[in-house]
Amino acid sequence: MTTVMTRTTARVVVPIILVVAISLFLQGHSHPGGGFIGGVLTVAAFALIYIAYNLDYLEDGVLGREVEKEESIGEHRTVAAYRRLFMFGLVVLVASTFSGMLLGDPVLSQYHRSIHLPLFGEIELASALVFDVGIFCIVVGGLLTVFSVVGAE
């Protein structure tokens, strides 16, 4: 699939997908969207890169690192990073779940506050976003691990 056409398409489409993913992710706590759907879209962007280039492209093409040939895909540095992302997401979820309890409110309680930024205007800071970050990390980490491992076979 690494034809010029797919590469060019990927180059144009991937940034757009990522921007849409981020906007969906950011508005998630009060509009349709959220960590899950943002995460899935992000994974779609990554999947497109994987199809247009290859599994090692992120390592040597973007980050400019040497790709080490490991004996199995499970040991691959990128996959290990995805797994860590998954764990990080889970930890954020746990922290977000318990923080409400520590403040004396029920589990999973969320808080929000509006602040005023110069030029930007009114902005709403919601603790639900932290929870969404956790979900985002789990979805991205988990799905990309599956994609890379299955894709390598």
């Binding site: 889970l90 930890v91 746990v94 779940t97 409400g100 029920p106 589990v107 999973l108 309680s109 969320q110």
Partner: protein
């Protein structure tokens, strides 16, 4: 009333699972975290049981997650029925995880075994505690995700085939449930189970769609419980998964299906009235539709499970089929409870359901773990290859004997009371119909005959398992294999527990009595949830 103890078991399993994942580079520590977390889980469940059932000011507890009041937020409800099921789960989980540490190969334990186990526990716990229909679906999925991995855990072709079957079936089942839940939401305008109970009890709700949609949901519950005609995933999945996890499947996740049927039909739809003309069932509620369906499912499960177990040539396959048959007994008891309008008989039948569920979880847990001991010792569970194990390890033989006898239903073991109560309920059902209604009497006789047949089949296949494994001349593998004494010790305590439940039956009965009471107490359930805020 927002008491954190109601959500504590969920948090405990969640926290343990995450911690176990974080410390996976240190296998020893991971085992300690996992076992300690499961013990902590058991402690929270025990506390919850004390608060809900046994304390002097015992009462059901509701928890509004994230301060979103019912019916808009997600409510967790810990009443007698929930905590009874949680107790079963906790006991099985503790034994399964302790046994796992010893039984599962050291390298296999490192492959996310412990985090997955905790998340399986989390899924079951959430399903038992939630008071929200959609949330129930979510917990089902949590449970399933981990089950998929466990069925495929050993990764051979047969395991992968079993896992594929399991995944496909459960995705279809999940779609059915989602359709049903969505439809119920469209019909009643709420997902909160207590609120739904209020809505369907009130006159003016269209009941026709509720009947049909609840049938869709029932399909998923029956699939989860492994009732005929949705039983075919059970044998292959049980043979594929690691045996301690199979003990969890039989003890906890199957019971989630049973629990969901009881909760939805008896608690939520119990007060709904609608004119029915189901022959032989003098009832004017939704239960009249459930009764014939679940009775037939239960009876066919007993027959299929019994004969399947008789014809199986490996020990784990035998117990997997036996598990289908035993769930059939539970379903028949639910059917009797649904078919009657007499409050007392319904209570007895539900009590029988719960006691049998408890007995099945303990006994079948014991037997599956015992199968694990045999596999560990000789590397196979084919009945043809093992034999004469009784001579080799008399202690292990007696542990297995306790399990077998309890399965058959010999007093004073736990199994006796389960079977006794089910026959009691079936007998009363017959007695209630014997004057007058011929169809009702005839169907009650059929139920009794099938139950008797099931009991005979149980005796036959238990005897077959016992004779094939422990009697006869020692085979070569038995002569060379060694029975792990620590595993036997763990199982020994479980066997003692099975005996103790039978001997000290009084508190168990009292507990199950409260649970059966809670199952039909729709008003109490609605009251517990306490619709707060402007939404009430």
């Amino acid at each position: 009333m927002n008491d954190v103890i109601a959500i504590a078991p969920i948090l405990m399993a969640f926290l343990t699972g995450t911690t176990a994942l974080l410390v996976r580079s240190f296998p020893r520590l991971q085992q300690i975290v996992s076992v300690a977390g499961t013990l902590g889980y058991a402690v929270t469940v025990a506390t919850l049981v004390w608060r809900v059932v046994f304390a002097s000011d015992a009462m059901s507890i509701a928890y509004q997650v994230g301060e979103w009041n019912a019916p808009f937020g997600i409510t967790l409800v810990a009443d007698g029925l929930s905590v009874f099921m949680l107790t079963i789960t906790a006991v099985v989980a503790v034994y399964a995880i302790v046994f796992s540490v010893r039984f599962i190969d050291y390298r296999n334990q490192r492959v996310y075994y412990h985090p997955l186990f905790q998340f399986l526990l989390l899924g079951a716990t959430g399903a038992f505690l939630t008071g929200d229909l959609f949330n129930l679906f979510v917990w089902f999925e949590v449970m399933l995700m981990t089950s998929y991995v466990f069925v495929a855990f050993y990764g051979n072709s047969s395991h992968t085939a079993a896992a594929t079957r399991y995944v496909v079936l459960n995705i279809i089942g999940g779609a059915f449930m989602l359709l049903g839940v969505g439809g119920l939401y469209a019909t009643t305008g709420t997902l909160n189970m207590a609120d739904m109970a209020r809505t369907v009890s009130a006159s003016g709700t269209e009941m026709g769609p509720v009947v049909g949609l609840s049938a869709l949901v029932l399909v998923t519950f029956a699939l989860k419980a492994g009732l005929v005609p949705f039983q075919f995933w059970v044998p292959s999945a049980y043979r594929a998964a690691p045996l301690p996890v199979v003990a969890m499947f039989a003890g906890a996740t199957k019971k989630v299906g049973i629990y969901a049927i009881i909760r939805l039909y008896f608690t939520v739809f119990g007060n709904a009235t609608l004119p029915t003309t189901v022959p032989g069932i003098p009832s004017d509620s939704l239960l009249a539709f459930l009764a014939p369906v679940i009775l037939v499912m239960g009876m066919s499960s007993i027959v299929v499970g019994g004969f399947g177990a008789l014809s199986c040539d490996s020990l784990d396959g035998l117990f997997a089929y036996s598990s289908i048959g035993q769930i059939g007994f539970i379903a028949v008891a639910i059917g009797i409870a649904a078919a009657t309008t007499v409050a007392e008989l319904r209570h007895v039948a539900l009590l029988a359901t719960l006691i049998f569920a408890l007995h099945h979880a303990l006994t079948k847990g014991l037997l599956f773990l015992a199968t694990g001991v045999i596999r560990d010792a000789v590397g196979t569970t084919q009945l043809a290859d093992v034999g004469g194990l009784g001579e080799r390890s008399p202690v292990f033989a007696s542990v297995f004997l306790v399990g077998g006898l309890s399965l058959v239903g010999i007093p004073p073991l736990a199994g006796f009371f389960g079977k006794f109560l089910i026959f009691d309920a079936a007998g009363r059902q017959f007695a209630a119909h014997v004057t007058g209604d011929t169809f009702g009497a005839a169907s009650a006789v059929v139920v009794l005959i099938v139950l008797l047949l099931g009991a005979v089949l149980t005796i036959l296949y238990s005897t077959r398992a016992w004779m094939g494994t422990f009697w006869g001349p020692q085979t070569d593998v038995i002569k060379t294999g060694t029975v792990d004494s620590i595993e036997v010790l763990i199982l020994g305590t479980l066997a003692v527990l099975v005996i103790c439940v039978g001997l000290g039956f009084e508190p168990v009965y009292q507990f199950a009595d409260t649970a059966a009471e809670a199952a039909v107490d729709t008003d109490g359930y609605v009251k517990t949830v306490e619709f707060g805020g402007e939404g009430a």
